[in-house]
Symmetry: C2
Subunit: 771 residues, 2 copies
């Protein structure tokens, strides 16, 4: 009877549940649109010819290598996911986590893996076709490369929005009816619980992303460093020369690192920023006064704040699609015109977001629509500034990179010192931009007295930066495709003009990619801020839903957990700058960022050494490689990179997962907050330093190669090659991986919050022992 | 009449003022002892012969260059001091700072400058004498070099203790009688004010130290890099070859960077740790319950806690003196025996502190003497661990450095990647040790409920580490003296055996210096922690003494400022991890550490480029340099280094002074605390990374030079030289300067606290604008 009655209650709740705002439905529609166009772009690209037999042969070799790598990577990562899945099942069995979490975690990882797979399939199919089209015209190559990159771009945004929309529908409408009470809250307002569960979907994506970035980064740089050191430096043969045994592995590396790795990275950023912002919107409403209510219920208002970020993302998808079609260049276009063509797409989509967001927010009915709009503008501005600064420090059109080239004339050592200095300096303005962005968003929306709403504003700024990801990711993925096309042209012995064209495409890609990177790095910092607050919301839920704690004694006053402000939580958990637990956390967080970088760099070093030994061996033992009468064993080099990446990616990734849990157990919630803050701030500066130092060395070398300071083969060039090689793991392994490290550590903290609270009441073992 | 009356009151207060504890008087006695022995060591060294005419000539050239540099540096720094002195005068005129502060600030700078001067005079006089004594025996060279280093060691501890003791006597006994009311408090307990004023003496020392470290660091590395790149790499002539025009400048550099720079650095650390700890002891007593009173007055108890750190330092002076006499080796001693001889001194003095501290604390009468003793043991243990880890990562007796050498066989790029990884990794255990040290000291002494006493414990741990500075600094300064002796031997064409002996002395110095560095770095981190709390105490004083604020409304409750806990201050100034002002501060602090490193490294790069151009010019234009028939223009190179160092040291140093003031004005006290925390944590990790990466590269090169991986002249050696050159500014300019940056920024915050509080009530301009 009671069962029947509660079932009736459930049905009643389901039926009477507020309908979703109309704008919400834009998300699934945009998702399907994005996926549809991804299929369209893929088919369009596949309809072109791969060119000569030799081109096809080489493309196939790269394809095979890339797919073989991805399969092995997914097998290793799959194992990690199974282990974590079981851990989460155990946690939920002991009521330390919601039982839906393990499944949400899984889908996040699986969807991300699918994106990586499709994106790389498109990229590896596109390179020969881009090279072939470049035989006819520059614009032909541009169109194929960009649209193949767009496959990745739209698969990522499509799947991310689809996954978010589907999970929300399931958790909001279906699960409350199908699953028993304790799976999903029957309270008036289930949104806090729903958004918290969905964050674990973000952890799945982050875990996948870290493995993809670290593994891909190690793979690509081991191959690159190996190929360069023996081929270019010792044997004096050019880049992508088919006589170099590591050259196929090098081309595979571009795909697994710069395409699959980056795709997983941005999938995680995109989904993470939307999910964190939604969670904060709901939380802010939960604590808000009547000011924001407009006579609506908490649930109705919460739905509006959940809708805002995903509707913004959906608008971005449509704008990105149009932007792709705006990129067009004449067949005889020069580099400047190409840059203009790509920039047109970028500025169109950004301006579109700025303009369309205003009516959307107004029509959606947010009470503070104007303030939210200002946050969106702020986010776009910050992204643009970070991007432009990145360009300034890494492009050889500007002073810093040219200065490195000039120092290369003195020696490799001075070029290296100057490059490190450029990298370290380049974080100054981005940090200032992010700080100003946080301040503006925060104070426009809430201020200290309405902290959660302020942080929701910070989250919206991050979502705005990433809203046009469909387009920016296309321009990002386009770079390695053009690069690979060049490799293919070289190895297939095509006309010099083809290689020149693909080089031009590649160079143009670097400029737009810099701005894309700015958006990615800037949004990572802002998202992490939002995630910090989301972590505190998770603690609230753990207390109320899992531990059944209704109120806590804060400074002598009994406060209901549901109404506790973040300040109350800070008090209860002794989160003060002078609490040694917080300090220990910050110190540990900072050290983790450095230690993690050390691990990834050393992994590249080890893997590269193995590759160098193998390439040297082949040159020594296989006869006739240099005169073309003997064929190098490409497959062996591919295998070495694959094996090394698999081995080496485990340890750094585990660090990211284990440290937050250990710090949480020992130092409690105060320690975790310190830890995350330490990793966030230092990781941000360190990531920019490493990425930009690497980029600047790379382009200093290219600057010399266009004939400055003696040109190719000069002493200055040799010195610059050393810089470029040192910069490889900086910019393609450690730097980008730091961005994910920051977020994965936060996600891990969120998902394991139940354990930490259960273990020591959230105060940490140390506190329990001493008090 | 009232004047007469208040005078009578003053006299009465003076007479009835508590006598200082007997142990306190140990400090001036130890100071005079230290200075006396410094004079003795100096005379002893001067009584030896400088050797041949050529030796004398070279020594004189180095001496002249060093003194010329120091004079110009002091002129520039003097100007900065005059400006800051005037700024402080203006501040005190507007009652934003105590009028004694400008003078205390000045003496800190002047005493530090005197130490640098004397230390360098001893070092530059000792090098030829060490070389000459090494002609006879190894032990002869050891004795002269070590005792000359000891001149620096004991001058530093002597002057620091003397200055502290004199100022205390002035402020405690003399000024209250001589100066009007508002100069020094007439309250029952003037100690908080006295310790606060004395902290500004620390700022004088820090300012001097930063300029000395940055200027000296730029000088030495510009000369070193210039000499190496042209001489060793291009001309293939050995180190210290008299044909190299930069060789005298290089030897001068060792003196101005590694002797004068390091002396100023450690003078600042030593004085800073004692002053900050005293301030915390007094503050802790001010808030303590009867628990700590033992029936005594607050003043009496405060005096005990002021005495504890200086008595500990005084005991350390005596132990250090004995340790110097314990170092003795046989004339035919090998390297291992030499290391044992030096280690004997180190372990004796450390163990002595551990043992003697216990009765001292007990007899002094500290209620928590046992807990304080545990803090002292903790400090010594942390220093030893950091030192041993430093040795592990930078000595070629162990894996990491050998691995770099192995990577040098592959290429310079892989050696650089590996070295960066080693540096970044090497911070892990030191950070853990410091964190554990903080936790143990903090909880043994106080815990969260007695925060200030806990931080006093952290300060005592720092003082313990530095207590044997007299000896450790002697072993530190001994290195460059031996190095210079080698240079002198080489240039004077002495027997090979002499150079071998001085090389041996130098190598042994590196090992003991590693441990000394561990003590310096570890104590810097702990001292900064203590300084953070001292900053809050300064705020309290500014409110009560300068602004006349008696009580503040904290969370609806009116609390007397004198009785506000640090937690109360945190509440009042909104110092919460989620306040964007704090976040902005942390982000800025982190970015400052990176930016500062970039500036100093780039300065070295620029200066080195100038030097390289000059050396190349001399080789080109002055005929017969290579065959010895023409004399290089040494003086021109000395001038170039001097000029470059003067120019380049200004900007980075200003950053350290201006940023805390700007952040304070904009973001208030909350922002300043975030800033200091960000710089402290990141600066610590970054400093270790840079110092150890540099050290490891240096020793990897030396490992190859003793015959491994092909030995001198091999490709591996060339690759290792690149690493060594990149590492030069890492380990001798940016890394050590970061340590001072951390503390100078805190000192600046302390001294400008009055301005910040006056300007925006301490809440910051941003808050004022928005609320």
């Amino acid at each position: 009877m009671t069962g029947l009655f509660s079932f009736a209650v459930m049905i009643d709740r389901f039926v009477s549940r507020s309908a979703l705002p109309l704008w919400w439905w834009l998300a699934p529609i945009a998702a399907i649109l994005a996926l549809g166009f991804a299929v369209h772009f893929y088919r369009q690209m596949m309809s072109h010819s791969e060119g000569t037999d030799q081109m096809r042969f080489i493309a196939q070799a790269v394809r095979d290598g890339a797919m073989a790598y991805l399969k092995r990577q997914y097998r290793v990562v799959g194992l990690v996911f199974v282990i974590l899945f079981v851990v989460f099942l155990v946690l939920s069995f002991f009521r330390l986590q919601n039982p839906i979490v393990p499944f949400a975690f899984l889908t996040g990882g699986v969807f991300s893996a699918i994106c990586g797979f499709i994106g790389m399939k498109a990229a590896t199919n596109a390179s020969a076709r881009t090279a072939n089209a470049s035989r006819t015209s520059l614009n032909g190559g541009l169109q194929i490369a960009l649209r193949s990159g767009a496959v990745m771009g739209f698969v990522v945004v499509g799947f991310a929005l689809l996954d978010i929309a589907l999970w929300f529908l399931l958790l909001y409408f279906v699960f409350p009816v199908l699953l028993p009470n304790n799976f999903i809250s029957l309270a008036e307002n289930p949104l806090p619980q729903i958004t918290a569960i969905m964050l674990s979907f973000g952890m799945g994506a982050s875990t996948q992303a870290l493995f993809a970035r670290v593994g891909g980064g190690i793979y690509t740089k081991a191959a690159d460093v190996g190929a360069d050191l023996v081929g270019k430096v010792e044997k004096n043969i050019p880049e992508d020369d088919p006589r170099n045994p590591a050259t196929i592995a090098d081309n595979v590396g571009d795909n697994v690192g710069d395409v699959a790795g980056m795709g997983a990275d941005l999938y995680e950023s995109y989904a993470g920023s939307i999910l964190a912002t939604s969670a904060l919107g709901v939380a802010a409403i939960g604590l808000s006064t009547d000011l924001f209510m407009n006579g609506k219920t908490e649930l109705e208002m919460g739905l509006l704040y959940i809708t805002a970020p995903i509707a913004l993302a959906a608008i971005g998808v449509v704008l990105s699609l149009i932007a792709i079609y705006l990129v067009r260049a004449k067949d005889d276009a020069d580099q400047e015109q190409l840059i203009k063509a790509l920039s047109r797409g970028l500025y169109f989509s950004s301006a579109g977001i700025a303009i369309l967001a205003l009516p959307m927010l107004f029509l959606l009915g947010l009470p503070n629509w104007l303030a939210v709009w200002i946050c969106i503008l702020t986010g776009l501005a910050v992204g643009l500034i970070v991007g432009k600064v990145t360009e300034y420090y890494t492009s050889h059109a500007f002073g810093p990179t040219r200065e490195i080239a000039a120092q290369a004339e003195t020696s490799s050592a001075t070029a290296l010192i100057e490059g490190m200095a450029v990298g370290m300096e380049s974080g100054g303005i981005p940090v200032a931009a992010v700080v100003v962005g946080i301040i503006i968003s925060f104070y426009t929306m809430g201020g200290i007295d309405n902290l959660l709403m302020g942080l929701f504003g910070v989250g919206m700024a991050a979502v705005a930066m990433l809203s046009t990801l469909g387009f920016t990711l296309a321009t990002d993925a386009y770079g390695p495709i053009a690069d690979n096309a060049g490799g293919n042209a070289e190895m297939s012995g095509l006309d010099k003009i083809v290689r020149e064209r693909t080089d031009q495409l590649d160079a143009v890609g670097n400029t737009t990619a810099a701005i894309g990177k700015g958006f990615a790095i800037g949004s990572a910092a802002l998202t992490s801020m939002a995630l910090l607050a989301a972590y505190m919301e998770e603690i609230r839920l753990v207390l109320t839903e899992l531990r059944g704690v209704e109120s806590l004694l804060v400074r002598g006053e009994l406060i209901p957990v549901a109404k506790m402000t973040i300040e109350n939580f800070m008090d209860f958990y002794h989160v003060s700058l002078f609490n040694p637990a917080v300090l220990a956390g910050i110190f540990t967080g900072v050290a983790t960022a450095f230690f993690f970088s050390a691990m990834t760099m050393r992994a590249v070093g080890r893997a590269a050494t193995g590759m160098v030994a193998e390439v040297r061996r082949q040159f020594r033992e296989i006869k006739g490689i240099m005169d073309g009468s003997g064929l190098p064993d490409y497959a062996r080099c591919v295998e070495i990179s694959t094996g090394a990446a698999q081995r080496e990616m485990i340890a750094p990734s585990l660090v990211a997962i284990i440290i937050p849990v250990v710090v949480g157990i020992v130092f409690g919630i105060a320690g975790v907050l310190g830890l995350l803050l330490g990793t966030l701030t230092t990781g941000f500066s360190l990531a920019i330093t490493m990425s930009n130092a690497g980029g600047a060395w790379d382009n200093a070398k290219k600057y010399i190669e266009v004939g400055k300071f003696g040109g190719k083969g000069s002493l200055a060039h040799k010195a610059a090659v050393v810089g470029d090689t040192v910069g490889d793991p900086f910019k393609d392994t450690s730097g980008p991986a730091l961005n994910i490290l920051i977020k994965l550590m936060t996600m891990v903290s969120v998902v394991f919050a139940g354990l930490i609270v259960a273990f020591s009441n959230g105060q940490g073992l140390l506190y329990m022992l001493l008090h």
